[in-house]
Amino acid sequence: MAEVSLKGEQRVFMTGNEVVAWAAVAAKVDIMYGYPITPQNEIMHYWTRLAPKYGKKFLQTEDEISAGFTTLGGILTGRKAFTATAGPGNVLMQESAGMAEMMRIPVVYVIQQRGGPSTATVIYAQQETTLTAFGGNGEGHRIVYSTATHQELFDYTIKAFNSAWTYRFPTFLLGDGYQAKMREPLTIYDPEEKGMKLVPAEATVGDMAESGRSFRHLRNTYNTEDELYEVVMANQRDWDAMAPKVVEWEEKGCEDADVIIVSHGIVSRAALGAYNQLRAEGKKVGYFRPITIRPFPGEQLTKAMKGAKKLLVAESAYGQLLKMVQNGTYDNAIEIAPMLRPGVGITTEEIVQEYNKL
């Protein structure tokens, strides 16, 4: 592990998993709970090396179910806590994510996607997009940031904790195996030195600092249909009010584009490469990338594609992003050319090739 600190800005060359561990330190996280699964293991490896130096804690649990629920426990006592997983571990963690959705627990999950379904590959995929955004037996009241670069892994890990503690919805950082394992340069920093505000953690239970406090009874079981309806609708209203504030996207050249390439996560780096190459060739191509895949920037995409004839949707999954695009732009039908490659990487050359077929 690189010997660096968070004093001032530091240019570093790190793997994505190392970046997440450093970012969690930068976000003043108190404790990580985790269970080994590839490709996120090194987040724990780096965290456990950093933890004693920064007065942080770690617990290796017996499984991902436990990692999810111990994280919720830590958060309820007012500590900033997180966990990280992938693939089948993400499946198991959805149980705790559901409780966090219902009880508005500001939990942060880092998901380094691998191939699916089931054990599949330990390398890479974008096949946890639907699971992460809509897993669990509820309405998908979560914030999901899909990162593309190591700089974003750092920036959005810090942002994920702020969003979680501001809005109190479970917040996911959606990376992938390539991001987890590859090295690239980025700048790390102490957010507070840069004048960024870190949203403080607050205890929900066990707050002994507050003398004569009134006790709290938290539950996620409801007796009647109407009672549940009220709770879920209140959450839905909060979610709807929050969505425009947290939604993020990136777009280039959509104003005059005939074809807009839509992608998320690391595939958008290939898409950006294709966009730059095709633009250099004088092609009227656009680039659109949801950074939050939940809430999905459907309105923004609809606006961006107003003058376009086609969308080229590229993803390393079979239609998980495609469904979100269709759902987000349903009132403005446009021809979509899907480039669906479950579990495999997508290169700039391949996107250019697909574009040239249109």
């Binding site: 919720l72 426990g73 006790f215 539950r219």
Partner: protein
Amino acid sequence: MQELKENNVLQPAMPTSWNEETKPHKFCPGCGHGMILKVLGEVIDELGIKDKMVFGCDIGCSLLSWDFFALDTVQTHHGRTTPVITGMKRAKPEIVGVAYMGDGGGYAIGSQHLFNAAVRNEKITIILCNNCNYGMTGGQMAPTTLPGMKTETTPYGRDVEQTGYPTKGPEMVAAVAPEGAYVARGTVANLRQLKGYLKKALENQIAGNGISFVECLSGCPTNWRTNAKQTWEFIEKDMAQYFKVGELRTPQKKEG
């Protein structure tokens, strides 16, 4: 001390840690949960830990205790009460964390959490109500259903060839937990003794010795379809024959 009030009638004294607004409680008539929670409430009062305690309950009948006490309470999922309280205690060791669950939550769906919390000697207190069946879901077989006992999923009686023998939880925890653990099995048929066990279990956590685990033998007349006499007979004879009441581990020494 209980005070003589109107007409010199002895008023029932309820623990001050109880939430009076939710009494009478929601458990079925004759259920053991109310008795276990009463002695637990008395212990909380005696130890004066109400303000630093977090009480966690499971799904199943134990969830009906989600507003039982006048102290911070979290109701979570089947078997997940142990990791939730573990997570709290790890993050904030000053709290006194209690995980309250049934035999399904502790010995079936959440057994990996119980086992591993014991192995790690988590400084929490786990209280498990054993009533030989799944009460809330309508009386199915539990890990603690006695051989030959009829339940909704063993209508001809539990066949140990098919389903194995009842889980002996305290014996398992006592076998795997390191030094400092406190493990006991009490019964609602002897509340004074049960209260003593629960007190030691909480004191053990407060002392920071290790895990504290108390199983409480309890009754479920609704699903057992027993009258009062039969219920007590089942707890005191049938259950106690298989599940031996007593202390299995004390923090001072590891037996065996």
